[in-house]
Amino acid sequence: MSMDITLGRDAIARLCDRVEAAQQGAYAIPKLTDDYPGMTIGDGYAVQLELRRRFIAQGHRQLGWKAGLTSKAKMIQMGVNVPSIGFLTDRMARPESSAIKTSDLVHPRVECEVAFVMKKGLKGPGCTRQDVLDATDYVLPAVEIIDSRFSGFKFDLPSVVADNGSSARFVGGGRARYADDIDLRTLGVVMEKNGEIVTLGASAAVLGHPAEAIAMLVNILAELGEELPAGSFVMSGGITEAIPVKPGDSIVARFQELGSVSMRFIE
């Protein structure tokens, strides 16, 4: 994967304007590569980091990161061999069992994920699954509400990276556990929408082991000249397929050993 930046500062700022406006106005835009066909993944991350700079300047607090495109099927579909990452802020966090507004989202979808809270910082390159487990304070179940700002969820990797990996909202909850006390590879997961099972799987669906996704995230951060600080909240990527939600829907994600996370969606 090339982290080369080919676009100038002006172009990056203009693309960031588009993404920021779409996120804050909750509307869909065409993928960025329509106007910038030569845009690289490195350019995508430059836009994402500019977006983060603006949010932090506006007073948002960064809580951590998320990995996306972590299943083999999704990576093949996107023609990449690494996951993508996005940043998470306090403005995206929603409490467990809360009502989540959809009027400020474009076309939200929900995924079940294992989340990690770090007690030690991690720095790539060369970060391994075991390094991640050694640096983990605890793991917990989470539901990520993704919301691509691109029309019809149609995008390519540079565009989705610029759009902060479709990050929108997330809910952490359930039961915190020490990573050493459970087998993080074989956790079963069931997602129910309005009382009916809509998708299911086991945690190995994420790169064979969720901690593998965190290690890759740390290594991508290294390529961006960043590291993962102690205290970070990190989501390891969807175990289950993304399920569309609309006002009136109620979601319960049930995780083996980790309890459940629930939420409902309103206008």
Binding site: D183, R185, T186, V189, A204, G208
Partner: protein, 265 residues
């Protein structure tokens, strides 16, 4: 369907199984076969195997997951009989020459310590009557050409049961979350699919209760010591010479199996 035809088709399936040579779909030849007829054909097929020296050692539940039900167009499970000649031990190599067109499924097997007789059986009764559960592979196989099955074909063909392999790790369903236990299936060291107990009728115990009640209506009880295969928690895996499969049920353990030789179709 008259008794003579039931006997004829049951015998035909027995011969197909013995010779490892598939036959045309029954439903293509007899469009009016009912599911009840199909179970009577199955009874004849199984009776022939018992006459030839095998014993019935348990039951299997099939068509439990939504993808399989969508494929068959039937929205309830089916069942077949487990026979003594179907058993392999963990780590065994299965000779594909003894099968026609095998596919593997990762499941949870229940071994009972008490009889269970429906109707009126609930998932709670199933847990109460269970001695232990095991991760297992069922190798399904069809005696019908190219798996061109409708529900009547698979039911008549003993629910497409081929052989099965039980893992060695025993789990107590009172200490294990069988509903949320993940199921990870690897083929030749690579992740093939993931699933979870809830994929089977909301919980494997629900599927076993369903079968206890269905068989209860027919006056057939589950006996202590019987093995009940509760239904696939994975995608169907086609297998060829040299393949090795491992399934891991979260919190329980693994089952592995190898394949050698060439299947007949």
């Amino acid at each position: 369907m008259n008794e003579e035809k039931i006997k004829q088709y049951g015998d035909e399936l027995y011969d197909a199984w013995l010779a490892c040579r598939p036959v045309r779909p029954l439903l293509e030849r007899e469009p009016d076969i009912s599911i009840e007829d199909a179970y009577q054909i199955q009874e004849r097929f199984v009776a022939r195997r018992v006459q030839a020296g095998e014993t019935i050692i348990g039951k299997k539940i099939g068509a439990t997951s939504k993808p399989v039900q969508d494929f068959l167009g039937v929205y309830q499970p089916d069942f077949g009989m487990l026979l003594s000649g179907m058993v392999y031990q963990e780590g065994d190599t299965i000779d594909l020459a003894t099968l026609i067109q095998p596919k593997a499924e990762a499941e949870l097997a229940f071994v009972l310590k008490a009889d269970l007789k429906g109707p009126g059986i609930t998932a709670m009764d199933v847990i109460r009557a269970t001695d232990y559960v095991l991760p297992c592979f069922e190798i399904v196989d069809s005696r019908i050409t190219d798996w061109k099955i409708k529900i009547q074909d698979t039911v008549a063909d003993n629910a497409s049961c081929g052989v099965y392999v039980l893992g060695k790790t025993r789990g107590d369903p009172r200490q294990l979350d069988i509903t949320l236990a993940g199921m990870v299936l690897e083929k030749n060291g690579e992740l093939f699919s993931t699933g979870v107990g809830a994929a089977v009728q909301g919980s494997p115990a629900n599927a076993v209760a369903w079968l206890a009640n269905t068989l209860g209506e027919l006056g057939i009880p589950f006996k202590a010591g019987e093995v009940i295969l509760s239904g696939s928690q994975s995608a169907l895996v086609p297998v060829v010479d040299g393949d090795e499969l491992v399934c891991t049920a979260g919190g329980l353990g693994t089952c592995s199996v190898k394949f050698a030789g060439r299947s007949q179709a």
